[in-house]
């Protein structure tokens, strides 16, 4: 297994550390052609885990979007049931110490999870990919500086970086999003840069340059579409990481303040009652776990579909 001796190329465990060239599809031919999408879908659909993951993802999105309709009770209303009651017909997931309906809180909790997960990754993607494109294409000192900063960022475990940033910015959802986004910029930048370096040498890039196409245009029209596939895979895999990080931060008390329902904090609140009312911690955890497993399977499935070379 040829892991390069220096760890310039992104060698994350989530993107299996095999050397890979981007799916060089040729000049400006991207992923999203009509026939292409159909083919991708068929390949994707063969992976049952991935389909399950997609279903989970859609379910979570549905929960978040249709929360007011789906939730049987107001998630922050206290005393809708007797406190600390286990699952029952009235309250499918039981009630917590304030008498709030846990099921409703789980459903609304999907909002926080999803918002953080998607927005943070989106921000990280935009910033990271831009940095990666610039660093990879222009090279030179710009590359060196950018990548050194990325190396520095990369050295921080995400949770620790998030904690440090929240020391500065304070707590709350927005800050969680920013903190997580900053943490994920480095992997995006690394992966993009690596693939840009490979694509840069392709003949069609040279041809475009000789034809007089300006650098920004080359990057946008020729380089970017060909490095897109691994970026999409990274994004899918990172969303689960973002959600877990947010859950961890909420668990520590650094996330959205009460009474906003957040899965992580629900689990934390339940730990004190683990003996008499274990459902308070365990059930939200099941929701969180299913979401993460689903997203990871989805990410794996996307990776296998878009770049089968990475499999095995």
């Amino acid at each position: 297994m040829s892991v390069p001796a220096a760890r310039g190329q992104a060698v994350d465990a989530e993107v299996l550390p095999l050397h890979h060239a981007p799916a060089a599809l040729g000049p400006a031919e991207g992923v999203a052609t009509r026939a292409g999408v159909g083919r991708w879908w068929r390949r994707f659909a063969r992976n049952r885990g991935a389909v399950f993951g997609l279903a989970v993802f859609l379910a979570v999105v549905a929960m978040a979007v249709f929360a007011p309709v789906l939730a049987p009770h107001d998630p922050i209303a206290q005393g809708v049931g007797k406190p600390l009651q286990g699952p029952s017909l009235a309250h499918w997931a039981g009630t917590d110490s304030f008498g709030r309906d846990i099921l409703s809180r789980i459903i609304y909790g999907a909002r926080v999870a999803l918002v953080v997960g998607l927005v943070a990754v989106l921000i990280a993607l935009v910033v990271g990919v831009t940095l990666g494109l610039v660093a990879g294409y222009y090279g030179g000192w710009l590359d060196a500086v950018i990548m050194r900063v990325m190396d520095g960022l990369f050295a921080f475990p995400i949770i620790i970086l998030a904690i440090a940033m929240m020391a500065v910015m304070g707590f709350g959802v927005t800050n969680v999003i920013i903190a997580v986004a900053v943490g994920f910029v480095a992997p995006f930048a690394r992966v993009t840069r690596g693939d840009v370096l490979a694509v840069k040498e392709e003949p069609y890039i040279e041809a475009a340059r000789l034809a007089g196409v300006g650098s920004p245009a080359i990057i946008a029209r020729h380089v970017l579409p060909n490095v897109l596939a691994p970026i999409i895979v990274q994004a899918a895999l990172r969303v689960s990481g973002a959600i877990i990080t947010e859950a961890g931060l909420s668990f520590l008390g650094l996330g959205p303040p009460p009474p906003t329902p957040a899965w992580g904090r629900m689990i934390a609140e339940g730990q004190a009652f683990i003996v008499m009312a274990p459902h308070i911690s365990t059930i939200p955890g099941v929701a969180l776990m299913l979401t993460i497993v689903g997203l990871n399977l989805l990410g794996d499935g996307l990776r296998d579909t878009l770049d089968p070379r990475l499999r095995r």
Binding site: M1, S2, V3, A5, A6, R7, V11, D12, A13, L16, P17, L18, G49, R148, V149, D151, G152, L153, A155, F156, P157, I158, I159, I160, I163, A164, M165, M166, A167, V168, S240, I244, A247, G248, F251, L252, G253, L254, G264, I267, A268, G270, Q271, I274, V275, P278, S281, T282, G285, L288, M289, I292, V293, N296, L297, D300, R312
Partner: protein
Amino acid sequence: MVRFVVSRLGQTLAVLFTVSVIIFALMRMIPGDPVLMMLGDDFTHDAYQRLRAKLGFDRSIVIQYLIWVGSILRGDFGDSYLNHERVSRLVFDAFLPTASLVVASLVVGVLIAVPSGIVAAMRRDSPWDYGAMGFAIFAYSMPGFWKGIVLIWVFSVGLGWFPAMGYVHPWQDLWGGLWRLVLPAVTLGTFFSGLVARIIRSSLLEVLDQDYIKAARAKGVRQAALVYRHALANALIPVVTVIGLQFGTLLGGAVLTETVFSIPGMGRLTVAAILNRDYAVVQGAILVGVFAVVVVNLFVDLTYAFLNPRIRLT
């Protein structure tokens, strides 16, 4: 090899520098007057001016950074604003519990990952393979803190086999200490094993496809030796690198695990400090933690270079 070592050392220094700058910048961005915060209750006008001058607040930011670096290198991380203890002392005390947890988790993780990765590769596409990899996916997908709580619920509250919390130094009570570490180590270790098992599997599969395995079989090497000597020797080398890379993730997971199991390690120290706005402690703990990650990565890379003859001998 020498060239590789030197370049890696250089890279490490560059990263350490960047990390220190990031931490310094973050600390300076905290709203409020840092000098005031550091003095806390001992505020007097004189003390304020003196501390201000000592830290270089009347000079440029670069000088301030250098002064800061200087004190870090001397081991002076400042004082905790809560209890006025030296931060270095607090971090030092918290270091060992975290280290024990991390080491124990690594051991658990490797003990699970290596056999399951090998089995999955040897019986590719069989129920064993799907089972092992399925377990791996679950293991690293499950949120660590929740897993810890569930384990406490089952094994502590339910079965009463293990204590739910606490930490004891090995020299105070070796077996008791280890026993207390079991649940936390399993929590963090299974997470780690999930990551590594998949890598072992794919690495081994790739190696088994290589020509030299075929040639060794043609030489008369038996299947067992083929896998466990010829193939594994090659397959595990890149895995070493991956383990190093995941060390940071492991440390991040330790933060949460310590909180769940009330282990007085650096993770819990950091979290408590940030909730108390005790920034000096936050800074000190994070500095030490990230530096540890960087150093471990360097060590792992050097080990990789040593194990891989292609690099060792150039």
